[in-house]
Structures are given as C-alpha cells and as structure tokens.
C-alpha cells in the first residue's frame, strides 16, 4: 500500500521539480535574454556612438583613416570585458580600417561586409561557408537601422553590429516635426547621404561566461534551495494534512471494532478541520443510530421470540385442531386427553384438565378430562359432581366469560375462599382457567395447574387456552350433535323400517310386530302393545304385544271397561302415568306382575278417526326428552297410518280383483261372440289362447304380460266385426277384392281396440297375427323380429288349431299334415325358433 503521504510527497516533489525546472529555465532564459539585450545594447551603443561621431564622419567624408584613431580609442574604453572580436569602418566603396582581436581565429576578410542598408526589408542573406567559415544565423533589425547578425565561427559565437554612417544627423525635434508635419517622408529620408558603415563584432564568450556563472552561482543554488525548501514544505505539509487523516483512519478502525466514543480533536479552519468536525458528527450519529439499532434489534429479537412462541402456540393449536377435525365421536375423550397433555407439556405445567356441567340444570360440574405431569397425583376422581354454587367467585367470573389467572393461590381474595381451599387441597400454587362457551352459554372450563412452582402465564398462553377450549367445546358439541344425529338416524331408520314394513307387507300383524319391536328398541322401554278398535263393536282388541311377561294379563287388562287405553282413546291424547304403583286403578292391579312403573298411552288417529291405542310400559322411571316424545308420537302416527293403509289396501284389492274379473269376463264374452259369428269351431279362441299362454313363457314372456296376451288372443279376430258377412261367411274361395277386404280385419281390430287404454298392451296379437316371418304378411308387411313376439307365437298356434279344425270350405287336417305344413312354412310364415319351441312343448 502506498500511503497518501508518500503519494503526496511524490506528487509534490514532482511538482516542485517541475516548478524548479521551469523557474530555473525561466530565469535562465530571462537572464540570458537580459544579458543578450544588454550585450546587444552595448554593441548597438558602441556602434552608434562611432557612427554618430563627427570625426568618423569626417574620416569617411575625406577618406582619412587617421581621423579614426581618437574615436576608436574612445570606443575601446566601453569594451571592458574584452568582448570585441573585430571592428571595421568602411566607406561605400572600400574598407577604411578594420581590426580583429588576437583570439579570433578567422580571417577578418571572411567576415562579410554589410552593404545593403537602403532597403532594410531585405534580410541579410545567410551564407554557409565550408570549414572554418562563418555561419550567419539571425539577422535582426532595430529602428535605428542597426543590423545585428549572430554568427558562429569554430565554436565561437559573436554578434556583428553594423550601422550606416550618415553625413548629417537630423535634429531629433525636427525629426519629430517631420513625422508630425511632413506628409512626404520618403523624400525627407532620401536627403541624408550615407558615408559608410561601422561594423563591430562582439564575442559572446564573456556573455556565455556570465550566463554560465549566473547559472552556477544563482540558478543552481536557487534550484537546490527550491528543491530542498519544497521537499521540507512537502514533508511538513503532507504530515500536516495526512496526520488528521491517519487519526481518522485509526478512529475509523476503532469504530469498526464497535467503539463509537472516539472523536478527532482537529481544530484547523480548513477542509481537514471541516472533515474532522463532520467525522465527529458522523461518529455521534453513528453511535446514536447504533444504539437505536441495538434497541431495535433487541426489540425485534424479543418480538421474534414472541412471534416464535406465538407460532409454536399456533402450531400447537393447529395440530390439536387438525387432530380433532376427523376425530370420531368415540375418540373425542382420548383426543381431549392427548390435547391436554400437549398443552400441559407446552406450558410446562403440572396438570391440565377440563370441567363440564354434569347435568342439564347446570347445577354440578365434573372434572371430565385430565392430564398430569410425571409425579403429580391425578385429581379427576375427586372432582366429580361438584356443586357450582359452592364456588360463587369462580362461577361469577366464568359466567361473565372471564378467565381466572391466579399466579399465587396464597394471594387469592377472601371472597374466593372455597376456590382457594380447593386448590390448596390439591397442592396447587398457581392456576389459570378459561371458560368454555358454546352458543353463548357456559359449558365448562379448561384449566392449568402449577403445583411445584409458582407460575405466571402470558396473554398468549391464556389466548391459547381459550382457543383450545373452543376446540374442545366444539368437538364435544359436535360429538353430542353426532350422537343426536345418530340417534335421529336410528329413529329415521326405524321409521323407514316401519315404512318398508307398511309398504312391503299387507299383513297388519307383521307391520304391528315390526312397529312394536322398533318402539321398544328405540324408546328404550320394556313393553308395548297395540290395541285396535272393532268398527262394528267399538271395542278395543289387542292386535299385538311385545315385552310382556304374560299375555293373559294384558288380555284381561284390555277387556276392562275402564283402563288407561280406553281413556286414551276417549281423550284422544297421550296419557302418562309416572308411577303406576301409586295408582289404585283396577287395570293396574292386573298388571302388578309385570312390575311396570311408567305408562304412556298414545291414541292412534288416522284421518280423524281413532283406530286404536299404542301403549308403552317401563319398569323404571324414564327421563324422556323432546326427541323421545316426538318419536313416540311419530310411532303412533305411523301405527295409525299402517292400520288405515292396511284396511284401504284390502278394500282396493277387493275392488281391483272385482274389476279385473269384470274385464276378463267381458272379453271372454266378446270372444265367444266372435267365435259364434265367425262360425269357428267351438272354443277356438279359448284353445288358441290357452296354447299361446302355455307357449309364451317358454319363449321368455314374463308372467305379468301373459294377461295381455290372453286378452289379445281372445280378441284376435275382433277385427272381423268389420268384415261383411258375405265375405266372412262365404263358403267358397274369396276373390282378390274380397281378400283385400278380408285382410283389413287386423286394421279394424286395431281401430276397435286402440281407444281402450286397458287393452293397449293386448293389441299386438289382433293387429299382427297375420304378419309373416318373411314379410309377406299383412297388414303392414312386417318381417322377422319386427313382428311382435306375441303375434309370432299366436300365428303358429292359430294356424295349428285352424288346420286341425274343420272349416266350411275344408276338413281338418291330420296332425302329421299339420306338422308338415307348419314345417314347410317355417322361415316363411312362422318364426323358426317359435316353431321349434312349439313342437318341443306340444310333442
């Protein structure tokens, strides 16, 4: 890791070096420029002074070199540093005088002579010489027309200053006046005559040495001091900047370890100070947030714990509830005990229990279910039939549907003395009970006891108890309801059995027997009988008895003019005697041997008429409920209905039989009438009917259809009523037209019989007995099994009998011939199966 300080130092060093380098460079350049400017000024001054010297002008005017001595001598005094390399004064045509320094290793003749001053825009041409030559580098001009060239010769650099010498010098103010007033400047300038040139070359060796010395003595030390100073500043500055950051870093580490109390004591009024202040603020906020977060986390943990506990409670309750959902009624008690165990273990108590009212009047309570922890004595047997009035305080609370939570039995109030004594007798130190409510009324309560230690239960525990209590009470009520339903189902089954008996049997005795069996079984009584009224004598007679030790006694009892049965019959209401032994009625004395205690007499009333009395006897007291009475009344009504139905049925049976007889007799009469008209052999219809009835069952026709076959067979030729006698009774062969008419007789039979509903099922034979198996018959040309079975059967029988009978137009055939005829026409006229069966039966 490269620290910030190192980075800063490196960066600052770099910066310092750059600054240093730039500064030194700048200074060097500046100084060099200054020295060069000074050097140039010196050169320009020297050369200008010479150019303006009158003696020089004179010398040039008169070409007198001697005149130049004095001015040159004067000029040499300016060259204190011996920088002068050469000097030359020349006229326009020739060089008047020239001289070079001894150290200059070039021939002065090689130094170019300046000649072009008129056109100062023309730069000095650069000429490159071969070895030892002069390189002219940069000509520059200045306003005073001094031409300056920088030249290099064998490593020696020098400046050549050249200036023209004019004949006369313009007075400066007049020169200015010329500028201001004269619009024609060129003419003015042209008037100055140039006499010649002054040229001086100054070596830069002293200049370079000065610069070199300056660099050595000034720039380098300055550079070093800048570097050193910069480094020191960088060092201390970075230390100053980084130190607070280091402190902040270490404090941050402390914070990461959990210590939020540290602060940074940096008071500088800059960004570091601001950062420190902000950091301290941040630490405070963090501390505050951390504290709040810790609190929140603790609360959350507690909440989570609570939630987990609640979840466990819910799982427990859900488990208990799931167990109870499909619990059979006979398993409810075991289920409650298991649940008590589960909640007892869950809440870590010593005992869990259920108390329920033991009677309908809710005067007493029983401890019906209990679970005890290991080592704790059960109390269930000691807590039966507790009068609730003995515990008014607890009862009051429970009736108000309030839970009772007693963390310390010793601290129970005085008004709860009985409860306290009861608990103390069981060694209970703390208990909680919750009411069990169903339908808005108290059924009992569920409780937990802590025997070994004092215990306080939470709201969640009490709520859980309430939920379990609800499950228990719902289950118990469901069990009771199921039992009631079972009971009702039993009774309905009983009623159904009686109904079946009534429907299924026309024998009253059978019905009454079944009735009495069901009554005694369902009502749980010892004996019962049914007495019926004789319509004619209006006397009661015993129709059926059950459960009596001696039928004789009851027979005698029945015969008495005054008995409870008669009373019941006359009063047309239920008569109840709760204790027969306390009555003096003579009829009771007759039944002493039976030792009956309780009597119920129920009038059997059907359609407003008393048919008889149903009597119930029991040898012990009964405690019947509404359902029992309802059942008893139902039994009575059913008995009355059975009696009434039986008599009705018998009447109907008789009427039906008489009607049927009437129908059949009528049909037989018609049949005989037809035979007589048709001049058939005697009893032809009767015979074929009997034969058909005999054959039909063998071919699968059911018994209840035989009556229709009988009627159809008897009326098979009723359609001939519509055939004129001329055709019907014609002795000879019928013509085709006559046969067409004759073939209409099945249609006529259909038309005659179809309006009669009673004879619908008998139409097959009259309508189809002339249809042929192969479809060549009439009237519809049916074939095969399209022809009703009854008609197919009858057609065989009818032909058999007809062939064996004499007719007006032929004699009877022999049986063999008849058989042969039948066989010949099997498959054409007759159904082969029916022919086969016919021959099997009649042969």
């Amino acid at each position: 890791m490269i620290s910030i300080r190192t980075k800063l130092i490196l960066f600052m060093c770099l910066l310092i070096m750059i600054i240093d380098a730039l500064s030194c460079l700048f200074l060097f350049v500046h100084v060099k420029r200054e020295q060069e400017d000074a050097f140039k000024k010196l050169g320009m001054s020297i050369v200008t002074i010479l150019a303006e010297d009158n003696e020089v002008k004179l010398a040039l005017s008169h070409a007198q070199p001697a005149f130049l001595d004095a001015p040159i001598k004067r000029i040499m005094t300016f060259d204190r540093n011996d920088e002068r390399g050469y000097w030359r004064i020349s006229s326009s045509q020739e060089v008047i005088v020239e001289e070079k320094a001894s150290w200059l290793n070039i021939d002065i003749k090689e130094i170019p002579v300046v000649k072009e001053f008129k056109n100062t825009d023309v730069p000095y041409t650069k000429r490159r010489w071969t070895s030892g030559g002069i390189n002219a580098l940069e000509p520059s001009q200045n306003p005073d027309l001094i031409l300056i060239n920088r030249m290099i010769s064998e490593g020696n650099e020098f400046y050549d200053f050249s200036v023209p010498v004019y004949e006369r010098q313009i007075f400066s103010e007049e020169a200015f006046a010329t500028e201001i007033l004269n619009e024609d400047k060129i003419a003015a300038e042209a008037k100055q005559r140039m006499l010649g040139y002054v040229q001086i070359g100054l070596s830069t060796h002293k200049l370079n040495k000065k610069i070199h010395d300056f660099v050595l003595h000034n720039i380098l030390p300055m550079s070093l001091s800048i570097i050193l100073g910069g480094l020191c500043i960088a060092f201390f500055l970075t230390r100053y900047i980084v130190l607070p950051l280091r402190r902040m870093a270490s404090i941050t580490l402390d914070i990461a370890r959990g210590n939020l109390t540290h602060t940074i004591a940096v008071r500088s009024k800059d960004e570091i100070g601001q950062l420190s202040a902000n950091f301290n603020q941040m630490t405070k906020s963090l501390e505050k947030s951390y504290t709040e977060l810790k609190q929140e986390v603790a609360e959350h943990k507690q909440t989570e714990k609570l939630l987990q506990y609640r979840v466990k409670i819910e799982e427990l309750v859900a488990g208990i509830s799931a167990n109870f959902i499909n619990l059979a009624p006979h398993e409810v008690d075991a289920g409650i005990n298991r649940a008590l165990k589960a909640i007892g273990e869950f809440t870590n108590v010593d005992r869990s229990y259920v108390f329920l009212y033991s009677d309908n009047e809710k005067k007493n309570m029983d401890n019906t279910h209990e679970w005890c922890a290991e080592g704790i004595a059960p109390q269930i047997e000691n807590l039966k039939g507790l009068p609730v009035d003995n515990f008014p305080w607890a009862l009051k609370e429970l009736l108000q549907f309030e839970s009772i939570h007693v963390p310390r039995v010793a601290d129970m109030p005085d008004i709860a003395l009985a409860e306290k004594e009861l608990q103390e007798s069981q060694g209970v130190q703390s208990f909680v009970i919750v009411p069990m409510i169903y339908g808005g009324s108290l059924c009992g309560f569920l409780g937990l006891d802590s025997v070994r230690v004092e215990k306080t239960w939470t709201e969640e525990d009490i709520a859980m108890l309430k939920m379990v209590g609800e499950i228990f009470v719902n289950t118990l009520e469901r069990k009771r309801a199921e039992e009631r339903v079972k009971h009702h189902v039993k009774r309905l089954t009983t009623l159904h059995t009686i109904d079946k008996a009534i429907i299924g049997s026309l024998d009253l005795q059978v019905i009454l027997r079944v009735l009495l069996e069901q009554v005694t079984a369902q009502l749980g009584v010892d004996a019962a009988n049914v007495l019926l009224i004789n319509r004619h004598t209006q006397k009661l007679g015993c129709a059926a008895t059950l459960g009596f030790r001696s039928n004789a006694a009851i027979s005698l009892y029945v015969c008495l003019k005054e008995n409870y049965a008669r009373r019941t019959m006359l009063e047309r209401r239920i008569v109840y005697i709760s204790n027969l032994s306390e009555t003096d009625a003579p009829c009771v004395k007759l039944l002493e041997g039976e030792e009956f205690v309780v009597y119920y007499g129920i009038p059997l009333i059907a359609k407003g008429e008393v048919k008889g009395v149903l009597e119930i006897f029991n040898r012990t007291h009964l405690n019947p409920d509404q359902g029992w009475f309802g059942f008893l009344e139902t039994m009575g009504a059913m008995a009355a209905m059975a009696i009434d139905n039986t008599s009705l049925f018998e009447g109907t049976q008789r009427s039906h039989a008489e009607l049927t007889l009437a129908y059949d007799t009528t049909i037989e009469g018609w049949s005989r009438a037809l035979d007589m008209r048709n001049k058939e052999t005697k009893e032809h219809s009767h015979r074929v009917t009997e034969m058909t009835l005999k054959l039909a069952p063998a071919l699968g026709i059911k018994e209840d259809e035989l009556v229709h076959i009988r009627r159809g067979a008897l009326l098979h030729d009723i359609g001939k009523m519509g055939i004129p006698d001329t055709i019907l009774l014609k002795p000879g062969k019928l013509t085709e037209e006559e046969w067409q008419i004759m073939r209409m007789h099945p249609v006529y039979a259909y038309q005659l019989l179809s309006p009669i509903t009673y004879l619908h099922k008998a139409l097959d034979i009259p309508y189809c007995h002339h249809e042929n198996w192969d479809g060549s018959g009439y009237p519809k040309g049916l074939s095969g099994e399209q022809i009703p079975l009854a008609a197919r059967i009858f057609s065989v029988v009818d032909v058999w009998d007809a062939l064996l009978s004499d007719r007006p137009y032929r004699s009877a055939l022999t049986e063999d011939k008849t058989i042969e005829h039948i066989q010949l026409n099997t498959g054409k006229q007759f159904d082969p199966t029916i022919v086969k069966t016919f021959f099997r039966i009649y042969q």
């Binding site: 009158n54 306003p143 006369r168 010098q169 313009i170 007075f171 400066s172 103010e173 007049e174 020169a175 200015f176 006046a177 010329t178 500028e179 201001i180 007033l181 004269n182 619009e183 024609d184 003015a188 008037k191």
Partner: protein, 323 residues
Amino acid sequence: MQKHHKFYSFLIFSIFWLIFNFLIQISFQIPFAIAGEKLVTIVRSQQISAYNEVIKGFEERCKGENISIKAIYDLKGDVEEGKRIVQNIKINKLQTNLILAVGVLATTLVKEQFPDIPIIFCMVINHERFNFQGVNITGISCEASVEDQFTILKEVLGVHKNVGVIYDPIKTGKIISEAILIAKKLEFNLIQTEITSEKEVTSAIKNIISKIDALWIVPDGTVITKETIDGIIKLTQKHRLPTFCTSPAIVKAGALVSISPDYTYMGIQAAQLAQTLLSSQAITSLGVKQPDRLKLTINTQTAEIIGVNLSSIKSRPEVVLYP
C-alpha cells in the same frame, strides 16, 4: 504724305514722353522704396512642405507691404550645419530687420544668436516645452487651442463621451492639464494614460481602447513615432474608434480628423505680425498668438471603416477631405 509724317512724329514723341515719365516715376519711387523697405530673413529648419507653405504665405503677404525677403536659409535639420549657417548670417552682418524662424531648430539657433532683432517663430510643435520667450520673440502656435480641438470633438462625438489620451508627462503634461479642465467644461470624460517610452504605447492603447469613445492623439514625441503611429491607427480602426489629432499627416496615415492651422494663412498671419513689429520703433514682443485660421482634415476612408457620420462638418469651408 505730309500729314502721315506729322502723325508718326507726334506718336514717337508721345512714346518717348511716356517712357521718360515712367523712368522719372521709378526714379522717384526707388529711393522712397529704398528708403522705407524692411528686410526680413527667413530661417527654415528643414525642407518640409508645411514649412514651405508658411513661407509662401509670408512672402505673398509681404508683397506690397514694404517688406522684402532678404534671404531664406535652410538648416537641413542638422544642428551643426544650422549653427554654421546662423553664424555666417551673424558674421557677415547681413542687414536684416526681422527674422522669421520656421521650425524648432531655426528658432533655437536664431534666438541664441540674435537677441536684438525681432524674431517671429512659427511651426514649433508644442512650443511651450521650449524656452522661446524674450523681449524680441513673437510666435504663432503650431496647434489649435485645446478648446478649439475639443469643440470640434464635441460636434462630432456628442457630449458625455469618454475621450482617451496617451501622453508622456515630461513632454505634453501641460497640454493634458489644460485639457482636463476644458474637458470638464465641455462635458467630456478625459481618460489619461501616462507612458514613459514608445514601447508602452501599444499596451497603453489596448488597456483603454475598450473604455473610450474616441482617441485624442496629442503631438507627443514619445507617443508618435514611425513605429507607433501605424500600430495606433491599426488598433483604432480595428476597434472602430475615432481618432483626433493635430496634424493632417497623421490623418493621411489613417486618423479620422485633424484640427490644424492653415499653414499658408499662418504665413500671412506672421507677415501681419512682422508688419506690426517692423512699424514699431522699439524692439518688442507680441507674445505667442494662436493661429487665425484652422483647417479640418478628414480621412473619409477611415470614416467609412469606423462608421462615423461626419456630414455635419464636411460641409464646412475649412474642411479638407482626404483622399
């Protein structure tokens, strides 16, 4: 024939008579003329057109005024030459009643050598810089008064304007001091910038160019040089800044307007002064006069470049349009 002979004789006689009278007249006049004519020597600093105009005006005015130009000497702008010439004038005792010195060199040399002859100087730029006072010294200023200059400036620019000026306090400090008061009076805001060398001119202009509405170029040798005048003109034209000066030469170089004396009329005015001085018995000084007639020179090209409407002053009779 005889008649013709008489006529011709009469004619010849008349002609001779006229010639005789003429000669008699002339002979009478010459002494008078010779007896009352004053001699004036003109010393010119150098040959420049402005000086020549003045001399020309002087000569014209002197004609018929009994003033004779004895000699015109040209000093060629050279001090030594000038000294030699003036010395020659003095040594040769050339009779002269009055000397007209044109230009500062001539005035300087003449004042030195001729303390007892009336001297009229003219065409001395910024004459107050030089010690041209004496009992025999009379002069005509080479520049229009600051008030005249600013009046024209006001007419062109309007009031409440910022006028910039760059100057060397050593050379033109007095002019600026006077200008400050006149500017206040004429409701101008004079923004001055001092310089000490010509190298500062460009930067000084750049500093004030955005703050001013016009540049007043004063006749200052530090400000106006061959090198700086181009730069000044270029900058001011680039920024569309009107420039006012005291010399037509600078207008020709690119300035907008100059207010300068009419040099020819200055010569006439000098001749009038000469007449006054010569008619006086004693040597006296009439002080330094302002030029009687001024001319406005306008560079129309510059006016077009910077977008100035000078129609209000173009129509003046004293306006000279360039080009």
